[in-house]
Symmetry: D2
Subunit: 372 residues, 4 copies
Amino acid sequence: MGRLGPGREKRLQPPDGCGTMVAMSKPVKTLVVGASGYSGAELLRLLLMHPFTELVGVTSRQHAGQALPAVFPRFRGAEKARELVFTEPDVAGIVAIGAEIVFLALPHGLAAEFAVPLVESGLRVIDLSADFRLRDAAVYEAFYGTVHPAPEMLRSAVYGMPEIYGVAIRDAALVASPGCYPTSVILPLVPLLREKLILPETIHVSSMSGVSGAGKSTNAQFLFAECNESVRAYSVPRHRHLSEIEQELGVAAGEPVVISFTTHLIPVTAGIHTTTYAALREGITVSDVNRAMETTYADAPFVRLLGEGECPDTKNVVGTNFIDIGWVRDPRTNRLVLLSAEDNLGKGAAGQGVQSMNLMCGFPETSGLLNF
Amino acid sequence: MGRLGPGREKRLQPPDGCGTMVAMSKPVKTLVVGASGYSGAELLRLLLMHPFTELVGVTSRQHAGQALPAVFPRFRGAEKARELVFTEPDVAGIVAIGAEIVFLALPHGLAAEFAVPLVESGLRVIDLSADFRLRDAAVYEAFYGTVHPAPEMLRSAVYGMPEIYGVAIRDAALVASPGCYPTSVILPLVPLLREKLILPETIHVSSMSGVSGAGKSTNAQFLFAECNESVRAYSVPRHRHLSEIEQELGVAAGEPVVISFTTHLIPVTAGIHTTTYAALREGITVSDVNRAMETTYADAPFVRLLGEGECPDTKNVVGTNFIDIGWVRDPRTNRLVLLSAEDNLGKGAAGQGVQSMNLMCGFPETSGLLNF
Amino acid sequence: MGRLGPGREKRLQPPDGCGTMVAMSKPVKTLVVGASGYSGAELLRLLLMHPFTELVGVTSRQHAGQALPAVFPRFRGAEKARELVFTEPDVAGIVAIGAEIVFLALPHGLAAEFAVPLVESGLRVIDLSADFRLRDAAVYEAFYGTVHPAPEMLRSAVYGMPEIYGVAIRDAALVASPGCYPTSVILPLVPLLREKLILPETIHVSSMSGVSGAGKSTNAQFLFAECNESVRAYSVPRHRHLSEIEQELGVAAGEPVVISFTTHLIPVTAGIHTTTYAALREGITVSDVNRAMETTYADAPFVRLLGEGECPDTKNVVGTNFIDIGWVRDPRTNRLVLLSAEDNLGKGAAGQGVQSMNLMCGFPETSGLLNF
Amino acid sequence: MGRLGPGREKRLQPPDGCGTMVAMSKPVKTLVVGASGYSGAELLRLLLMHPFTELVGVTSRQHAGQALPAVFPRFRGAEKARELVFTEPDVAGIVAIGAEIVFLALPHGLAAEFAVPLVESGLRVIDLSADFRLRDAAVYEAFYGTVHPAPEMLRSAVYGMPEIYGVAIRDAALVASPGCYPTSVILPLVPLLREKLILPETIHVSSMSGVSGAGKSTNAQFLFAECNESVRAYSVPRHRHLSEIEQELGVAAGEPVVISFTTHLIPVTAGIHTTTYAALREGITVSDVNRAMETTYADAPFVRLLGEGECPDTKNVVGTNFIDIGWVRDPRTNRLVLLSAEDNLGKGAAGQGVQSMNLMCGFPETSGLLNF
């Protein structure tokens, strides 16, 4: 149960489906800090349509003073959006406005500056940046190149992957929402590592991401004419997301895991596709794999197991909070090929953050997220 | 009010927003005939998420026997979709299943074969094809090249553009949902023609459509490698949609209207952008235009008037039921340039059909359509 | 014949085709000022492959000191490219290096700063910017918002459209190479205006351009994620190119011409498609149109007349110097619909500049430009 | 030296560059069988521009009787193309027309039907299909599902990868031009396997291809609206190209090699990007890798070694015959990550075929292929 008190549990049923009876006391007040980029926009979209929350504020240094639809014309049709104006980010103001759940859609490093005082003020924070994903400040420094700004909070922060840390998320004060690539790598592998079906040292991962993953930065390499009809690897061999991937794979395996991980930029706006290889341990069959997958994700509403022999397609998940996972055993090599697809802005960022919020507030996990 | 009886009006408030109280008697039963193409898929998506209806059947000759998610993997996450199996289209079966509103997503010509017996059986039909859009069977024959299959029904069918025919749609037995291009052309022009602000004989229209508009037909000219990095006009000078466009412009003008209309195929999946020129009558100012637009669409929830000097972008409307309209007067020529953007599958097809259904059933007009 | 002297005419035949005999004295030395953008890159590509010229220098403030392939990896395989290093642009240096033909691929305003001293130094200049395209400095000021930097040179500059000004280009010291949109608008209309087949006041033009037309500027609106799955009009109602379009249409018509012109951004890297409407004068038939087109462009190697009823596609011209033109008469309105397609960087910019160079140097007009 | 006789060697220098002296006796006569798809079109493009050959015929069952530009409008500007008409494929006719080099751009299985009689008639054949790439008819049957149609010719056919089999290609009667994926996988690995720098059993390959690789078949899954904004793996775990990849890697390694290989479809028209992992043998350094690469490809004009730490981009090779190769050692795993990019229709198909032809005819290897 969430920390927001008993009043919120009064509803009888979620308003999904027809002819239901819904009774809610008061909506939870949400606020987004730094809502100028693509993850921030997707977050706003989800919060504007969420049935049990009210978006009470949006901040952005760049857009302060502008109405929400002026920055994001897509939201012109949302009544609530027309009332909202971007403000300067300011902890005191956020507290004063009565926000209960604050999302941080800020660059790493900057997020911690807000997360610490907000949590100290008793607000609950869902941070989409990388600042609190790693348990070890030294790993943060090695991968992000700066001393961690608030190492003391790394212990209490919860890695915001509801399928893995659902229980802890319910009561968390600070949720570190996972990166887009990590979500697509960790979810397929966790069942196999936990049940020791694969050899961790044989993991090779090749991921492809849409260009929205690069953010709204005006870098010439992300211009349309540079990305269209183009495919390229980047950040080889050590993308920053590798740090949280290996951390979480290590937790699942019960031992340190070191993998190969290569990221590629492809000309789609949204979507991540990840192909992962891992050698099956001796004697392990595909049935074991099937069973581990099905057992682990039996109650995970957003993990769609396509099953053995099926290949996911990003077009089936873009705009949603689903991750589709398929797998194939290659009898020639006895390696398992895992294929996963998600929306980098959805399950890979904003959607997963909202999923965590649902747990934190005691809402049904799927509230506001059942889009197809 | 719709014809479905008083029980449906009992709800106090639509379940849009937070903390509302909703009480519904029974959902309206809907069924889609011919749901194998892109408009059909979008229709299914909207109906699966609609709060006041239940999708009780889907038919498709091509996919009969297949489960809905097997054909449209995007719907794997929808509980209702997992229960549905495509059946052979059959009027008796549709009646037997208890469908109240039947959508036809069939090719023109074929739609009439179902519309006539279904309406005669007392069901209400929303036809996404061109079969009942024209009031004059001779015009149909001239543009579609075949004798109209059911000319006697042309009089009772209502052109399903809620902003123009909202009152008639509420009580219609047969709604002929407009074409994708026509929606983007008619809505910007109607206020100006009705109020005689422009000279009808000066109208020139240039439209661009995404490739989903060509349907899921396996024609080599719509292969990715043929459409990507390609722009071309087609069906010049007489696209079939010209017939319904001129019919409706004529109604608004109170006199026959003949226009120039050119369609182009551009490499986007969804979206239509239409640029329309029309000479302003002497003495007419942009203020007159602004006023006509605002008055006409004051209560139209899906027409977003961007106003003078603003250019719409399809990316702000794709996936929604909105049409964005901007306009500019060119002082050099005293011509008005009207710019409109919509989703060809949304407001241009399935969304508009659902909007009509909302009116027919007495639901709030925006039910199930407020996506951003 | 070009001004470069008799030695260059000694070759017997161009080296196009097989088994020919070619004898050339010395290659013409070319240099590109400001070769950092997309037009500049395309120009370098053409010059690196040109059979009768030698690229002796490239300048760029931004890239000074960098090797050509470091900035444009596509040219890594060109031996000549590997020898070239970007230098700071400097008139004295350009003269010293022995350049005979200098291309300016600079922003408007800046181009004039180089064009004037280079021409005064006896070099021949092909300017891809807008600085010398207009004959009237007042029009320049009205459309570009600044006083023309060198109005005295407007008279001697030749508008670099070889199909129209081929004779003058041969001997020009300063060629003002046309804009991308204007090329696609002017070429289809000139034959019709010259022969008075259409009513100039009825011209309406709707053009679509690929994103490379916006240049390599790091403006967020041209990011992949902003342009992909997006179509929008811009610079309505008075794109800067309108000035040169109307100038040249006026020359052809023998009277001032004022038109409607709307530009749209579509998600392709390269390519412009233009759709033009014009009312036929009374008594004019499509045969008259056909004849005017064929007569005017009988000797124009890069104008491909698809003929009546044919629609061009940008994919057939991208990467080439061709412009494809088709047309259709609409009997309902007696308007002609003209359709043209070109590569905005090819015939719309760099290719056309090289075509002018070929004329200036006495080379065959197609030298180095016969790509398919 | 090629088998075409001494006359062809008389030219002094290739006509690449300026001011050269070229003397050729007679062009080599080429013909393309089955030129209706994307590889066929690219082949025609290259042959139409080739300086030392004459395209004397094109066949296609589908297009017999149509002029070349009617099928491929892009070639409208090529004088030679305007003279050519598609004919029915027929061995006697091909011999009669005097073709010396015959390219087969046919589906596998069908190619053999032409290759055998053509070679027996003394013509030289470059087959772009898979029919003669494998030395072992049993492997062909295992991967292609049919008995090999002409196993006796497998021994004499030469695998048409000029960087590996250049000497044999010069005198070959039948060249089996490699598949698109294999080219991008084999070239980066051969130097490392030959010099035993990597462990063959650790090779994992992840490739992404543009949609033209699927051919011009009218399969709904390759429609624009199905491929745009989509990424998916396919043919997992055993794409047909795996057979020739492992064959050639085995030759290089001197022992059988079994690898993991996964192919993905991405929304670009052309281009393949391949990411390959392989564990370095103990004691091997990146310097060893660099040296092996540089030595092996010192004289390979189309292999562009970007070097250590560099990532290739398909946009730099599309439309060319180059393959760009970069690599990075991951110190955490001691694995090498190899990155390669090529045009699937260029170096991956038609370009490589022309490169073989150049060797067979004694032309400079780069003749007609130096595009950037």
